[in-house]
């Protein structure tokens, strides 16, 4: 039966994606193509919308929420997966509201105003069936995919406003977004880049190679030299793994050091982060903030004697508080960290914060 085949095909794809997520997170390098993960997640959610059996928006949201929970459980540190699920849930809510004809497009959030003026305990249960809902949702998801594809380009386009000639820029580790940002500016300006190698994975080396191939003058420094060199730096531009709801970052380890050094020297810290990295989590909320990988990168197993006497940790992420950040550059423009709450309310619905 074609129906059963489609279903098994769909569940096979989901299982393959989950297995890939589980594998991909272990030590292959912390910032592993978040953009690809976001794109794959969205494509998978579109497939679920198209092929799964559902009759009302409520059913679809339940299915997507269930799959979303499984995906986030597979790799809790990969927050882009959860973010895309929440985006799609918001899309479904909006399309449902539009089909119902209610002008709820603007304010779905709780607010004092709503408390005072609402006529009743409006419990939307999304049970009504609309035949055009499926097509609308799929179209909206396609728009989301187009937006995802354009993010790096949109961010790189803003490079010339921020990077001036003969400037010294510092960055840490390897971020594809920052790479494209700097390469775009290099087409018209000459500047110097200092890359902190970001031990123990030393992704900074790859970044430096790639930048120098684009004819940018690059220097690699060890992480311990960050403070020493900072006095000569004009700007610090970094990428991040996640942007948290208070405007803070969860970035590769060593970023907090870089941020503190920049603050001390009053050097602006610019974070290049596309919108899909924005996550509605707060830093002290859960215990899954940190991820630790095998410590053999720090202290190899061959160092036999010392191993029994010390504890070795290899954390992957760092928390950077919002006070240390000057500007966020995303595909929709530049924003201050104190404005992140507003962007969050536009992207996600508060009931979806917990899947």
């Amino acid at each position: 039966m074609p129906g059963a085949d489609k279903n098994t095909d769909l569940s096979e794809r989901i299982e393959a994606f989950l297995a890939d997520l589980k594998r991909g997170g272990t030590g292959a390098g912390p910032l592993r193509g978040s953009a690809e993960t976001a794109r794959e997640t969205t494509a998978l959610l579109r497939r679920i919308t198209a092929q799964a059996r559902w009759s009302s928006a409520g059913d679809l949201m339940e299915i997507i929420r269930k799959e979303g929970r499984r995906m986030t459980a597979a790799q809790p540190s990969e927050t882009t997966v959860g973010n895309m699920v929440r985006r799609v849930l918001k899309i479904i809510r909006e399309e449902y509201a539009r089909s119902r004809g209610s002008s709820e497009e603007t304010d779905q959030q709780e607010s004092l105003h709503k408390l005072l003026t609402s006529g009743g305990l409006s419990e939307e249960n999304f049970r009504q069936h609309f035949p055009t809902l499926k097509a609308n949702v799929i179209e909206a998801i396609n728009e989301l995919l187009t937006e995802l594809e354009g993010t790096t380009y949109n961010i790189a386009m803003q490079a010339l406003e921020h990077i001036h000639s003969n400037e010294v820029i510092m960055t840490i580790g390897r971020s594809r977004t920052v790479e494209d940002f700097l390469k775009d500016a290099a087409r018209k300006r000459k500047f110097h880049v200092i890359v902190a190698e970001c031990a123990p994975f030393c992704q900074g080396h790859k970044m430096a190679t790639s930048l120098s191939q684009a004819e940018i003058e690059t220097t690699v420094i060890p992480d311990a030299a960050i403070f020493a060199v900072m006095s000569r730096v004009n700007k610090v531009i970094i990428g991040t793994q996640t942007v948290l709801a208070n405007g803070g970052l969860r970035a590769v380890n060593g970023t907090h050091t870089l941020a503190l050094a920049a603050k001390h020297h009053s050097t602006p810290l610019i974070v290049c982060a596309p919108m899909f990295k924005l996550s509605p989590q707060f830093p002290n909320e859960e215990d899954t903030f940190h991820k630790f990988v095998s410590p053999h990168e720090v202290l190899p197993f061959t160092e036999g004697e010392i191993l029994s006497k010390v504890n070795v940790h290899c954390p992957v992420f760092d928390y950077v508080p919002p006070e240390l950040i000057t500007l966020f550059i995303s595909n929709i423009g530049g924003n201050a960290p104190s404005y992140i709450y507003r962007l969050m309310s536009e992207l996600y619905h508060p009931e979806d914060h917990e899947l």
């Binding site: 607010s111 004092l112 105003h113 408390l115 208070n246 215990d287």
Partner: protein, 302 residues
Amino acid sequence: MNEQELVEYFRTQMGKDPDMASAVAAIRTLLEFLKRDQGETLFGLRESLTSATDCLTGVDSSVAVSSAGELFLRFISLTSLEHQDLSQCKKVMEERGELFLQKISMSRAKVAKLCHTFIKDGAKILTHSYSRVVLRVLEKAAAEKKRFSVYVTESQPDAAGELMAAALRKLDVPVTVVLDAAVGAVVEKVDLVIVGAEGVVESGGIINKIGTYQMAVCSKAHNKLFYVVAESFKFVRLYPLNQQDVPDKFKYKADTLRSSQSLSEEHPVIDYTPPSLITLLFTDLGVLTPSAVSDELIKLYL
């Protein structure tokens, strides 16, 4: 409903449920006033409500009562924009008023649900004076089987901290009462500071029992997290820039304002904590950064 009946009703409401916030009691009283009002015009209604609010602030001069009055007035204005006929308008107002009261009675539970996840197992918490919202949050955390210990300041001049300590001991939470002057010395031992608020101002700062500002400055100096828990009806349209900017009518108790010769010899009962010292605010509208508070107020009042 004349002044005396108003004050009587307010006092009965406060007495009936000691757990209820004074702002909720004020809104209940104003709603009752609305029901019994015989006025024919909207303007007359607004005027009588304003004088009723003034009367209530004469009984309890806290920021919360004043903000409740303003919120109610705003509620009247918003509803009257939709219905031109006064009697129909009044019916709608009464219905919506009841709904509003129902919703805000659930706000403390919402705040507790949001905040308790931020309390980690083994945490040491510092709090100030007696706040029913903080108590609710700690109750919820204790119910989730989290182990934590609490330091409470004595909070003179009314020793409200002792009340808080007694309530916490009933929950089997290890609690230590410290002197108000000991805050600076204690802050290095704790992991986070949670306080309630009598009012949340437009800038995202708070107005709370005297001693809160001190606690906030000390916790900033030691880089400790400073959380504020407050219901959304406490948002008030004030924008103080320093301690002096807070109006005198809030700083002193109603009796003191009436009877004292010179206010400069009285001790203020509240202080203002600026938003730069606050990490996060937990309200029934969600977890907010201080910069998000003004957004909420703008949505309501403009």
